[in-house]
Amino acid sequence: MSDTQPILEVENLCTTFTRGGVALPAVRDVSFNVGKGEVLGLVGESGSGKSVTLRSILGLSRRYGDVTGSVKWMGQDIAQMPERKLRHIRGRDIAMIFQEPMTSLNPLLTVGLQLTETLKAHTDMGRAARRDRAIEMLDHVGIPAAASRLNEYPHQFSGGMRQRVMIAIALAASPKLLLADEPTTALDVTIQAQILDLILSLADELEMGVILVTHDLGVVAQTCKRAAVMYAGRVVEQGDVRQVLRAPRHPYTVGLMRSVPQDVPPRSQLYTVPGTPPSLEALPQGCAFAPRCQGRTEGCLVARPPLEAIAQGRSVACFNPVIDAQGAAA
C-alpha cells in the first residue's frame, strides 16, 4: 500500500465528551491510515474508544462532544466539513455498520423499505432495480427466503438476522470505505465466515477499504492485514497482523492474547489482565495502563509513552516493550 495514497488519513483525532462539567477524553491522539482495499483491525477493551473513533471519522460525534484533529478522506479534511456536505459522503462513499443493530434500524419501517431507501438516497437506481438489489443483498448476507422477508419489521428477525440486515444496508450502495463496528459479534461462526468472505471480496474487487472493530482475535487473524490495539482512548500498538498477534510488544496486547481460552484445561480460570480500565474522568497522569502493568517502571507513572515506530509499519506506545511474548500459535 506504500505506493498509493491512503484513502483515509486520521491524524491526532481527539474526541472529548463533557458530563457535569467534567471532561471525558474518549479518544486521544489517534492516528492511522487506511489504504485502498486494505482491512485494518481495531481491537481493544470495551470502552477503549473504538466506536467513538469510528463515529468521529463519520462526523457523528460532534453533536455530543468536542472533536479535534484531522480526518482526511481522499485528501479532503472532513473533520470540520459542514454536515450538509458530509451527508453526501456518508452512506455513499463511507458506510458504517453500527454495533447495536436494534438502535440503528428503524423499528417502524419494514426491512425492505430501509434497504431501498438507502439505495434511493445514494444511487440512481430505478425502483425495480432497487428492489432487486435489496433482495440480492439480503441473499448475500444469508437471509433465507429474502424476497418474502422484505415486508417484515426488524422485531420479526432474530438478533443475528437484524445484524445481517444492517450489513446489507451498509454494503448496498458499494461504499469505498466501510467502518464496521463488531459486525459479526452477534453472529454464529458459519454466517460470520460468510459475511467476512463477502467483506473481503468487496475489499478485493471494489478496492473497498475497511476498518473492522472486533474483539475476536481469530477474526482479526483471518481477515485483517494490519491491526491497531486501543487502550483508554489511545492506539497503543499497531502493525502487520502477523507481528501483532505473534509477537505482541505492548503489555496490554500480551495480556489480551493470553486471555483467549485456547490450550487451557476445560473450565479452568482464564488468564485476565489484573485490575480494571481507568475511568475517563480520572485517567492516570503517565501511561494509562500503568496501574495494571507488570512491566511498569517509575517513568511510566510520570510521562505518557508516545506511539513510536519500532520497525517499518510497526509502532508501540510503551517505555518497556515486551521482547519475547508468546503470541498466537507462535
Binding site: E45, I143, Q192, H215, L245, R267
Partner: protein, 332 residues
C-alpha cells in the same frame, strides 16, 4: 448430580409471520415461522449446558420459553418436578426469581431512563432480596462483583459502552440470587479480556452457589471452555448433544462438523479446513422434509429426504440425530 433441575420435553413453537402483499392477494394467512420443532433437553443441577447453532435456529426462542416469555405450542418444561406452564404455576413469582435470563441485547433490555444504581435497586426490592437499608451496600457489592467502578451507579445505560452495559445486565440477574441462569450471548459483546473475567466469574459463582447455567454463545472456543455438555441446534431441533470435550474433539453430526470447522483460527496463516456448507440456507419459514439438514449435507442419501432422524445414543459419543452417524463420524 444427574437429577435434572429442568426437564424440557418436545417443545414446539411457531411464530405467525406477517402477511405479505401476495398473501393478501391470495387471501391466505401469513407464513408460519417454525422456531422450535420438538426440542428435548435436560439441565442437570450445577452443570453448564452450552447451546450452539446458526443464527436464527431458535436458541433465543428456547431461552425465552424457559423463562416463560413465550409459551410453547406443544411439549412441556418441568422445573424441580413442576410443570412451569401449568395453570397455577404461572402465578408463582418465585420461579421468575429462581430462573434468571440475561439477554442478548443489553441495550434494549435496560431501561434507558434509569441509572445503574436504580436498575439494581429495583431488582433487589421487587423480589425483596434485602431490607431497604441494605440495598445501597448490596448495589455496591454487585458492581464490584461484575467489576464496574462504583461511580457507575449514578450513570445511565447510554453512558456505557456495549461491554459495560452487558455487565450491568449480569449484575441485575445476579442481584436476585438465582439458581438457574439462562445466558443468551452473555459475553458475545465483550472483548476477550473482559470475556475472560466474566467467564471466570461465572465459573466461580457456579461452584460457589451451585448454579445451573444454560450458556448460549457462538464463540465455540468459549463454549468449549465453560460447558460440561453441549447441545447443537439446527432449525429448531437438537441434532447433537453430549459431553463437551468429546463433542468438540469428535463431532458426529455433519452439521456439528461444519459448524466447528468454521471457527476462525488465531493463526493468520492457518486458513483452516473449513467445510463450506453448500446449498440453500436454512429457513424456519420452510423447514425441509426429512432431515432438515439434507439440503446442505454432503452425506445425504435419498432416505434422508424422507425420514426425520431421531436423536439416538452413539456408543462413545453423545446423542446424534443423523441416519448415517456411524459412517459420518468414522470418516471425520
Amino acid at each position: 448430580m444427574t437429577q435434572p433441575v429442568m426437564d424440557i420435553k418436545d417443545i414446539e413453537l411457531e411464530f405467525q409471520g406477517s402477511r405479505t402483499l401476495i398473501d393478501f392477494v391470495k387471501q391466505r394467512p401469513g407464513r408460519v415461522v417454525r422456531a422450535l420443532n420438538g426440542v428435548s433437553l435436560q439441565l442437570n443441577k450445577g452443570e453448564t449446558l452450552g447451546v450452539v447453532g446458526e443464527s436464527g435456529c431458535g436458541k433465543s426462542t428456547l431461552a425465552r420459553c424457559i423463562v416463560r416469555l413465550y409459551e410453547p405450542k406443544r411439549g412441556s418444561i418441568h422445573f424441580d418436578g413442576k410443570d412451569i406452564f401449568a395453570a397455577g404455576a404461572k402465578a408463582d413469582r418465585s420461579y421468575n426469581r429462581r430462573v434468571q435470563m440475561m439477554f442478548q441485547d443489553p441495550y434494549s433490555s435496560l431501561n434507558p431512563r434509569m441509572t445503574t444504581g436504580q436498575i439494581l435497586s429495583e431488582a433487589l426490592s421487587v423480589h425483596k432480596m434485602r431490607p431497604e437499608g441494605e440495598i445501597a451496600s448490596r448495589v455496591a457489592e454487585l458492581l464490584d462483583l461484575v467489576r464496574l467502578p462504583q461511580d457507575a451507579a449514578g450513570k445511565l445505560p447510554h453512558e456505557f459502552s456495549g461491554g459495560q452495559r452487558q455487565r450491568i445486565a449480569i449484575a441485575r440477574a445476579l442481584a436476585v440470587e438465582p439458581e438457574v441462569l439462562i445466558a443468551d450471548e452473555l459475553v458475545s459483546a465483550l472483548d476477550v479480556s473482559v470475556q475472560a473475567q466474566v467467564v471466570n466469574l461465572l465459573l466461580e459463582l457456579q461452584d460457589r452457589l451451585n448454579l445451573t447455567i444454560l450458556f448460549v454463545a457462538h464463540d465455540l472456543r468459549l463454549v468449549r471452555h465453560v460447558s460440561n455438555r453441549v447441545a447443537v441446534i439446527y432449525l429448531g431441533r437438537i441434532v447433537e448433544v453430549g459431553d463437551s470435550e468429546t463433542l468438540f474433539s469428535n463431532p458426529s453430526h455433519p452439521y456439528s462438523q461444519a459448524l466447528l470447522s468454521a471457527a476462525p483460527s488465531l493463526d493468520p496463516d492457518d486458513k483452516g479446513s473449513a467445510i463450506r456448507l453448500q446449498g440453500e440456507l436454512p429457513s424456519p419459514l420452510n423447514v425441509p422434509p426429512g432431515c432438515p439438514f439434507h439440503v446442505r449435507c454432503r452425506h445425504a442419501t435419498d432416505f434422508c429426504k424422507i425420514e426425520v432422524p431421531e436423536l439416538r445414543a452413539l456408543p462413545g459419543r453423545g446423542e446424534v440425530a443423523c441416519h448415517h452417524a456411524e459412517e459420518v463420524s468414522e470418516n471425520a
